[in-house]
């Protein structure tokens, strides 16, 4: 699974400290193994956005404020957002477990205080993942995102932690085989 280099979509703007129980209320944790079902309820806990999941289009882009995804460690938060069809989340900053979970899933996220501040709901965006550049066609603006450490970029390029672990396991088996 490799990521496309350029993503285009409509921006959906959310505020600061959007927590995991707002992203996907805990009652839907019973669908932990069903991404599409989780997607149908994404952001349902955000006041005023109860029906958001039925409006969002495939490939749209979510833009959050600071500390996006705080609260629970449940990986169903980024899974639900992906399940709803969102191609990428841009935020001023991410809460650490949400951040880890997204990287581990190989799901693209970008940290850009500038973009988070300037982008408005409904803006048409284009994101160059390689360059970390966000273009706003509606406003004619361009924003830069913070760069990640090389290991995180490697994980994202590989498609997340799963292929990385597979590789580690193969190496361990090979070493054990040589020793044996």
């Amino acid at each position: 699974m490799t990521l496309p280099k350029v993503l285009r979509g409509r921006a959906w703007k959310f505020g600061n400290n959007i927590d995991t129980d707002q992203i996907i209320p805990a009652k839907y944790a019973i669908y932990s193994l069903d991404e599409k079902e989780l997607g149908k309820h994404a952001m349902e806990g955000v006041p005023g956005r109860e029906t958001w999941a039925s409006q969002v289009g495939q490939g749209d882009i979510m833009v959050g404020g600071s500390n996006f995804g705080c609260g629970s460690s449940r990986e169903i938060a980024p899974v639900a957002i992906r399940g709803a069809g969102v191609s990428l989340v841009v935020a001023d900053s991410f809460a650490r477990i949400f951040f880890r979970n997204a990287i581990n899933m190989g799901y693209p996220i970008l940290q850009s205080p500038q973009a988070s501040e300037a982008i408005e709901d409904g803006d048409e965006l284009e994101v160059d993942l390689e360059q970390g550049i966000i273009r706003n066609f509606t406003k004619g603006d361009e924003y830069r995102s913070d760069s990640f450490p090389p290991f995180m970029n490697e994980l994202l390029r590989m498609g997340g932690l799963v292929p990385w672990v597979r590789k580690q396991l193969e190496e361990r088996r090979r070493t054990a085989g040589v020793r044996g």
């Binding site: 932990s32 705080c70 460690s73 449940r74 809460a95 477990i97 581990n104 450490p149 799963v162």
Partner: protein, 427 residues
């Protein structure tokens, strides 16, 4: 180096690390539960291709979030959790009725120890840090990686140091202190950082109350909360620790991003108002708020010392008409002890609902979910919109004595309105 840096350096097999370093570190103990084991097990076996886990003696699994099963779908999650644990030979599997909430069960069974690197697929895994270890919450893919390899990637966090002077006043508990601190720094005030708690005030704070403080590190966005090893730690672990352990201390020249100093004698009894844990207010500002429900439970405040204080307040009183009180012990051992001490009789006589040990109402799971517009005072850890049920329910967070007193009056109340003085031996 700080304690946090030393533990991560040892795990990574390095002499030293610095904040910002990305390391691959060996994990000493890992935890998952009925919401996180099913996805982690699936990812580990079906996607990563691992057949066994790295060390069945260093993993604990609890059936706590939606168990005893609240519906057929959660029964499936319970079954997948049970089957995975048995197939992998996990030594520390806690069945319904024999364990309880992970963050009470692991410390009380001596499974998370000083100097160790602990991860749990639950955000409140930071709780264990009161026992002088590095403990942090991780996701399900993370847990799958740990189960397969016994290792995980970490970014070494900057450390914020919190120095507590003096002693807490009567009625004011560790819960009030940590709510006050989070109120000062905000829900992202320690985002991705370590919170190191120190100072002479902690010497007078027992282990269960210390666990309440580190439990809420995540509510300030922290990666972990950590405390020094002292006589209180040693006494708690004697006869309990399942492995030998090596405490860690921060070096005198350890570097801190920031140092906060608090005179804890100035901290008032307080609450977090809806709808965020950093919405601190002194109790006096919210006293009189009418309550539909009072909940005493969760990994934050439902250990035996919490229940003793709640029982002392409730003794001889009745829950106010129009208000309901739900008490959920945080573990089966806590329930057994509460039974021995006669606390359950006090709760039942007061008209409280006493439940089995489960996360239950705290995460809006079951046994106390709130409806639209309802107001609840809860001893839990977070009150973001919808956390305990309907997004328009209003949740206040408090310590257990305040919760018990407020159940008796039906409105948010100072415990001294119901009980003149908290007996010194359970304070």
């Amino acid at each position: 180096m700080t304690m946090t840096e030393k533990i991560l350096a040892r795990g990574a097999g390095r002499d030293s690390v610095r904040p910002g370093d990305l390391v691959l570190a060996k994990v000493d103990f890992a935890m998952g539960h009925d919401l996180t084991i099913p996805p982690a097990g699936k990812i580990m076996r079906e996607q990563m291709g691992a057949e066994r886990i790295w060390d069945p003696e260093r993993v604990a699994v609890t059936q706590d979030h939606f168990q005893p099963a609240k519906d057929a779908a959660s029964a499936t999650l319970g079954r997948l959790t049970r089957e995975f644990s048995h197939q992998m030979g996990i030594k520390w599997y806690f069945e319904v009725g024999q364990g309880g909430i992970c963050h009470t069960v692991l410390p009380e069974n001596g499974l998370v120890l000083p100097g160790e690197l602990v991860v749990g697929a639950d955000s409140h895994s930071c709780t264990y840090g009161a026992l002088n270890n590095f403990a942090t919450g991780i996701g399900s893919t993370d847990l799958a990686c740990v189960l397969a390899l016994g290792e995980l990637w970490f970014r070494v966090p900057e450390t914020l140091k919190f120095v507590y002077h003096n002693r807490l006043k009567e009625w004011v508990e560790a819960k009030d202190l940590i709510l006050y601190v989070i109120g000062q720094i905000g829900v992202d005030g320690a985002r991705s950082k370590a919170m190191e708690h120190t100072g002479e005030a902690l010497r007078h704070i027992d282990m269960e109350a210390r666990l309440t403080m580190t439990n809420m590190a995540i509510e300030a966005g922290a990666k972990n909360g950590i405390m020094e090893f002292d006589d209180v730690t040693k006494e708690y672990l004697d006869g309990r620790a399942k492995r030998p352990y090596q405490p860690v201390t921060s070096d005198p020249d350890a570097e801190y991003e920031k140092v906060f100093e608090f005179d804890v004698a100035k901290v008032e009894l307080g609450v977090a108002r809806p709808m965020s844990p950093d919405n601190y207010a002194p109790l006096s500002e919210v006293a009189g708020t009418r309550l539909d429900q009072v909940f005493i439970g969760s990994c934050t405040n439902s250990r035996i010392t919490d229940l003793r204080r709640a029982a002392a307040v409730l003794e001889g009183h009745k829950v106010a008409p129009g208000t309901r009180l739900i008490i959920t012990p945080s573990s089966h051992q806590v329930a057994i002890q509460a039974e021995r001490e006669g606390l359950i009789r006090t709760f039942l006589a007061a008209g409280a609902a006493w439940t089995t040990a489960t996360c239950g109402a705290c995460l809006g799971g079951h046994m106390g979910v709130l409806g639209e517009g309802e107001v609840c005072l809860s001893t839990t850890n977070r009150n973001f919109p919808g956390r305990m049920g309907h997004p328009k329910a209003m949740v206040y967070l408090s310590n257990p004595a305040v919760a018990a007193a407020s159940a008796v009056t039906g409105v948010i109340s100072h415990p001294s309105e119901v009980l003149k003085h908290m007996p010194a031996e359970i304070r």
